[in-house]
């Protein structure tokens, strides 16, 4: 596994933190606000954490969100 620049590990950790700290609750609360249930019987926050962490890791690996 290789981040975009090995000297930028702290920078690459940013998206992972953002995914967990902000995107996860945002996804969970968006599901609840839309009265949608999370797939696989997961709780909204568990689903949010899985998606937020996943998006953050992918962004860290790619060096960009989009």
């Amino acid at each position: 596994m290789k981040f975009v620049h090995s000297s930028k590990v702290p920078t690459a950790a940013g998206p992972v933190l953002f995914g967990v700290a902000f995107l996860a609750p945002l996804i969970a609360q968006s599901l609840e606000a839309a009265s949608l249930s999370a797939p696989f019987g997961l709780r909204p926050l568990s689903f949010g954490l899985a998606v937020g962490l996943g998006l953050g890791v992918v962004a860290a690996l790619r060096g960009r969100w989009v």
Partner: protein, 296 residues
């Protein structure tokens, strides 16, 4: 044609010196007053954006309205700071200097752009406009506005090594250390506030009052303040690196940038005076061979 004789007036060729003097005489008329409207705009807009938070969290303001208002506030927050960056509100050593610095520091907080970082990088833009290596705004170059928007989004990705980071790395400004400390603190505060709000049950409010509006605002600002006035970003030099142009969305929605050529020539002219100054100076701009894409 020699460098010393480049313009014409009633059939007579004007020297470089005469042209410079004529330009300066016109510019002087529009400089020197305190642009109180920009002071009110900068501080009032910040207070308005702050007020969105309690009004929304208390349920007084609907979320859709909060989102629209926040997007507006953050989009228009840069220009008062821009006036302060050029010391237009008050010059160094003058009694109102504190007000200049206050507007500069406060107005761009929602945009997460610290005043000193904005000024250090903006100086490099003025000195090196359209230089692929040295202009911090060059990342917004694009053949069309949507390409410019996409390029701008790409350029500010955390792994992209964007023009602002490179400009700061090159800078020898004595305030650089302070600027970087302020930038780090502001970013830390931003992420701490977003995280705290999100885990307190206000993630959607945080996303729609700050996170998403800020991204929309940055793209809008990059299109109208960076891309459009310098498009196609291929020429350099005092009289060619920016232009006068007619915006399809009008002067207000393009934030007065149709007269950006006047700003680059005379950065101390307040934003609201660039239009009148342009109309008076345009004959000289034509003599200089400035880029003028306005049909009138």
């Amino acid at each position: 044609m020699s460098a010393a004789a480049i313009g014409t007036e009633a059939g007579r060729v004007r020297s470089e010196r005469e042209l410079k003097r004529a330009e300066a005489e016109i510019a002087r008329k529009y400089m020197g007053r305190v642009p109180w409207e920009m002071v009110a705009w900068g501080l009032g807009n910040f207070v308005l954006w702050l007020s969105i938070w309690p009004l929304t969290l208390a349920g007084v303001l609907p979320l859709w309205a909060a989102f629209a208002l926040a997007t507006f506030c953050i989009t228009v927050c840069y220009l008062p700071s821009h006036e302060a960056q050029h010391s237009i509100i008050a010059t160094e050593g003058s009694p109102l200097r504190w007000l200049n610095e206050l507007v500069g520091h406060v107005s761009t907080i929602p945009l997460l752009l610290p005043y000193r970082i904005a000024w250090i990088t903006h100086k490099q833009h003025h000195a090196n406009a359209n230089d692929p290596e040295l202009d911090p705004d060059y990342g917004n170059k694009g053949d069309t506005w949507w390409q410019a928007a996409w390029n701008g989004i790409q350029a500010r990705q955390f792994g992209a090594g964007d023009g602002y980071r490179n400009a700061l790395a090159r800078s020898r400004d004595p305030n650089l250390g302070k600027a970087i400390r302020e930038g780090s603190l502001l970013s830390l505060a931003y992420y701490a506030i977003l995280t705290t709000l999100a885990w307190s049950g206000f993630a959607i409010e945080a996303a729609l009052i700050w996170w998403l509006p800020r991204h929309i605002a940055m793209t809008y600002i990059q299109i109208f303040l960076s891309w459009a006035p310098h498009h196609p970003m291929e020429e350099k030099g005092r009289y060619r690196d920016t232009r006068a142009w007619r915006s399809p969305v009008g002067t207000i929605l393009s934030m007065g940038m149709e007269y950006h050529v006047v700003h680059h020539l005379f950065p101390r002219i307040p934003l609201f005076q660039t239009g009148p100054a342009y109309r008076e100076i345009r004959g000289l701009l034509d003599e200089r061979g400035c880029r003028n894409d306005r049909p009138d």
